[in-house]
Every structure is written in structure tokens, then in C-alpha cells.
């Protein structure tokens, strides 16, 4: 069960690290200064949360593991993040929609983890939820602003949600490592998170005048380490310094 717990922690950490890395690509390219700063601030929070999780995973793994070896020195198949977070930034609307769909998950998931029987996970969740509540408010506002905005912004948001929808199902499909620790009250019931997520997402999309996608087909794989073609490129950039100059320290 310990191995499954470690995998679960890595799954949560990788979600945050990879989305943090994606958002960081906007640094210096945001549509206006304030939003450039907003996205990079969100990245900081996500990477900070990932650090707490990697530190905990490293402690459980023992041996030579550190937060850095876990973040920088694993191979693609060892990363357990959902496919949603590795999707390319696209236009600003695509990035905002990806953020919103993930924030809603992250929020309800941390909310449930606050009462996890694993006290360290519960502490990380209680710390992180304050930050994620703020992210969710920010991304929800932007979905409404752009969806209920101009004809062009609305069209872009509709195509963003339609493109990303197929990557949302995976967040709620339990893997073997989640099923293994759920009984002990460590990880939450994903069915329950799904209904809360759906309710929130519908509420915001309706307000944004964006039709809620109805396509039932969902892509999966990320949580088991099977990633899209984008993942290798992300890791190339993310791991470049540690791979080129092994053990380099700031």
C-alpha cells in the first residue's frame, strides 16, 4: 500500500508541476501585464504545492530520493499527471479554460483531502486550498468574461471547452493505486468529486453562455503514465538543466 500511496502523491504533485510549467510558458507573453503576473503567480502556487507533495513522497520513498530527483529526474512514463494539464497553451482562452477545468477539480479534491486519514496529505490540502480557492475564482471570472464577451471571444471559448472536454473524464477515473488506498480513507471518492466538479463547471459555463459539451467519449492514460505527444517536449525543457549539468545547484 505504501507504493500506491507514493504513486498517488506523485500523481497530485505531477498535476501541479506540469500545469505550473505550462503556465510559466506565458511569462513575458501574457496579453496584458496584470494577467502575465496572474498566471505566473498561479504557477508559483502550483509549483509550491507540488514541492510539498514531492517532499512527502521523497520522505516515504527514502533512500536517495529528494523533491528534486522526483521533479527533474524521472522518465516520461513515471509521471502520473492527467492529460489535461499537459495540453498546449493555445490562445489565452484555451489556457483559461484548461485552468478553470483543472481548478474546479483541484479545489474539490483538496477540500476532500482536508479530512484524509493521512495527516500529512490533510495538512498539505488545508494549506493549498486557500490558494486554489483564489485560482478558481480568477479562472471562473475569466471564463464568464470571455464566454459572455464578444462574438469572437465566445467562439474561442466554445472551441476551447470542446477541445479540452475529452481530457476531463480521466480526473475522475480511479486508477489501481487510488482504489488501493481509498479504503483506508486516504484518497477521496472520485465519483463524489465528479458530481461537485460537474455542478460547478455547469454553473460557470451557463453564466458564460457557453454550451456544456455533451460528448461522452473520454481520453485517458496520463494517470497511468501514458502521455500525449506533448509531454516529451515539456520534460525536455523542464529537465534540461539537470540533465545537462547533473547535480547542479543554484
Amino acid at each position: 500500500m505504501k507504493d500506491d500511496l507514493i504513486k498517488y502523491i506523485l500523481h497530485l504533485a505531477d498535476n501541479n508541476l506540469i500545469l505550473g510549467q505550462r503556465n510559466a510558458e506565458w511569462c513575458g507573453h501574457g496579453p496584458v501585464l496584470e494577467q502575465d503576473i496572474a498566471l505566473t503567480n498561479i504557477s508559483l502556487d502550483l509549483i509550491g504545492q507540488a514541492r510539498l507533495l514531492y517532499q512527502y513522497a521523497a520522505e516515504l520513498k527514502g533512500g536517495e530520493s529528494t523533491e528534486d530527483t522526483l521533479a527533474y529526474l524521472r522518465t516520461e512514463r513515471e509521471y502520473l499527471n492527467v492529460l489535461l494539464v499537459e495540453q498546449p497553451n493555445g490562445n489565452w482562452g484555451d489556457t483559461i479554460m484548461r485552468q478553470f477545468l483543472y481548478d474546479a477539480f483541484n479545489y474539490f479534491n483538496y477540500k476532500a483531502l482536508e479530512t484524509s486519514s493521512d495527516t500529512q496529505l490533510a495538512a498539505i490540502a488545508a494549506k493549498s486550498i486557500k490558494e486554489v480557492s483564489y485560482h478558481l475564482r480568477f479562472s471562473s471570472e475569466w471564463v464568464v468574461r470571455l464566454g459572455d464577451g464578444t462574438e469572437e471571444s465566445r467562439d474561442k471559448m466554445i472551441s476551447a471547452v470542446n477541445d479540452l472536454w475529452k481530457y476531463t473524464g480521466e480526473m475522475f477515473q480511479a486508477t489501481s493505486y487510488e482504489n488501493s488506498i481509498k479504503g483506508a480513507g486516504i484518497s477521496p471518492d472520485l465519483g463524489d468529486i465528479h458530481s461537485k466538479w460537474e455542478e460547478k463547471v455547469k454553473e460557470v459555463l451557463v453564466e458564460a453562455t457557453i454550451p456544456v459539451p455533451s460528448s461522452p467519449w473520454m481520453q485517458n492514460g496520463g494517470k497511468k503514465g501514458i502521455h500525449s505527444e506533448h509531454m516529451g517536449f515539456i520534460l525536455t525543457e523542464l529537465q534540461y538543466v539537470q540533465r545537462t549539468y547533473p547535480n547542479l545547484q543554484w
Binding site: 503576473i37 509550491g48 510539498l52 488545508a126 494549506k127
Partner: protein, 165 residues
């Protein structure tokens, strides 16, 4: 040898001289991140709480603490990063709030203040320059993770508001 004589009040005094690296006008004690100072048989133990989990000051603060203590020849120090219960802006001292305001950052509302429950854009946020409440939210995210950007509609100055957390 001298370390056996340290009392925690003196340590707190030293820590009060350590500024927050991003908002140097207040000390880490004013910021409420020093959670425990205890002299044990193995040496001095200090618990610090992060404000935001990804705050870049996170790795700098323990270095500053060690430096400040080293100046007083205290070197046997164990610093722990404690996340539970999570840090809150309610832990910023009254003096800290006043210093923030004097520096040009509107301090956070206390969580007991009904204002803190309102959405950011509906809250009475007072301009630290002219004292007007006629202010406008520019961006939810400011120059550091803990702040939001505002502008005063009377004196027109932009300013930061320290978010309730």
C-alpha cells in the same frame, strides 16, 4: 558554551530584526510566521510557517535567520518548515499591519471583520496614500503572491492590498 544561556525572549528579539525579504518593512515576527522557538538539549529549534506555498522568500528566510543568529554567535539551530495549521494573515501583528500601511500597502482585513467575507471588488479597501475608500481592483494578483493590485480613484495612485489569507 554560551548557548546554554540563551533565553527565548532574546531569540525573539533577534528574529524581530530579520525582515521579510519581499516586504522588508516588516519583520518575520510581525508577519506571524515564527511559530515556535525552543531551547532543547540538542540546540535551538525554530518552526517557521510559509505564507504562500510557492513564495520565493521561502528558501531565503531560513538563511536570513541563520545569519542573524550567527551574528550573536548562535549556530546550533534546527529550522523546521511547518504547514499545519496553515498560516493566516490574522497572525500578522497589529504593529505589522500599521507598518504595512505606512509603507504603502493596505493591510489585510481581520477574518473577524465582515469586510473580509465580501468579494475583493466589493470590499472597502482604503488607499494607503490619501485614505480614500474610492478605490478600484486592477488585478487579483499583484507584485507578490500575497498581494492584489488596486488603484485609488481620488489620488490616482496605484497600490497593493495585502490579501486576506
Amino acid at each position: 558554551m554560551s548557548e546554554a544561556l540563551i533565553d527565548t525572549d532574546r531569540i525573539m528579539e533577534i528574529l524581530e530584526s530579520v525582515p521579510d525579504p519581499e516586504i522588508p518593512v516588516i519583520s518575520i515576527v510581525d508577519l506571524g510566521i515564527v511559530r515556535r522557538v525552543e531551547e532543547t538539549e540538542e540546540g535551538l529549534e525554530i518552526d517557521l510557517s510559509p505564507t504562500y506555498s510557492g513564495c520565493p522568500a521561502l528558501d531565503v528566510i531560513p538563511i536570513l535567520v541563520r545569519e542573524a543568529l550567527a551574528e550573536h554567535e548562535i549556530s546550533n539551530v534546527k529550522i523546521r518548515n511547518v504547514i499545519s495549521p496553515p498560516w493566516s494573515t490574522d497572525w500578522i501583528s497589529e504593529e505589522g499591519l500599521a507598518k504595512l500601511n505606512a509603507f504603502g500597502i493596505t493591510p489585510p482585513h481581520r477574518s473577524t471583520d465582515a469586510q473580509s467575507q465580501l468579494p475583493l471588488e466589493e470590499r472597502d479597501i482604503t488607499c494607503p496614500q490619501c485614505g480614500s475608500n474610492n478605490t478600484n481592483l486592477v488585478s487579483r494578483f499583484g507584485s507578490t503572491p500575497c498581494k492584489a493590485a488596486f488603484q485609488c480613484k481620488d489620488c490616482l495612485e496605484p497600490f497593493d492590498y495585502f490579501k486576506c489569507h
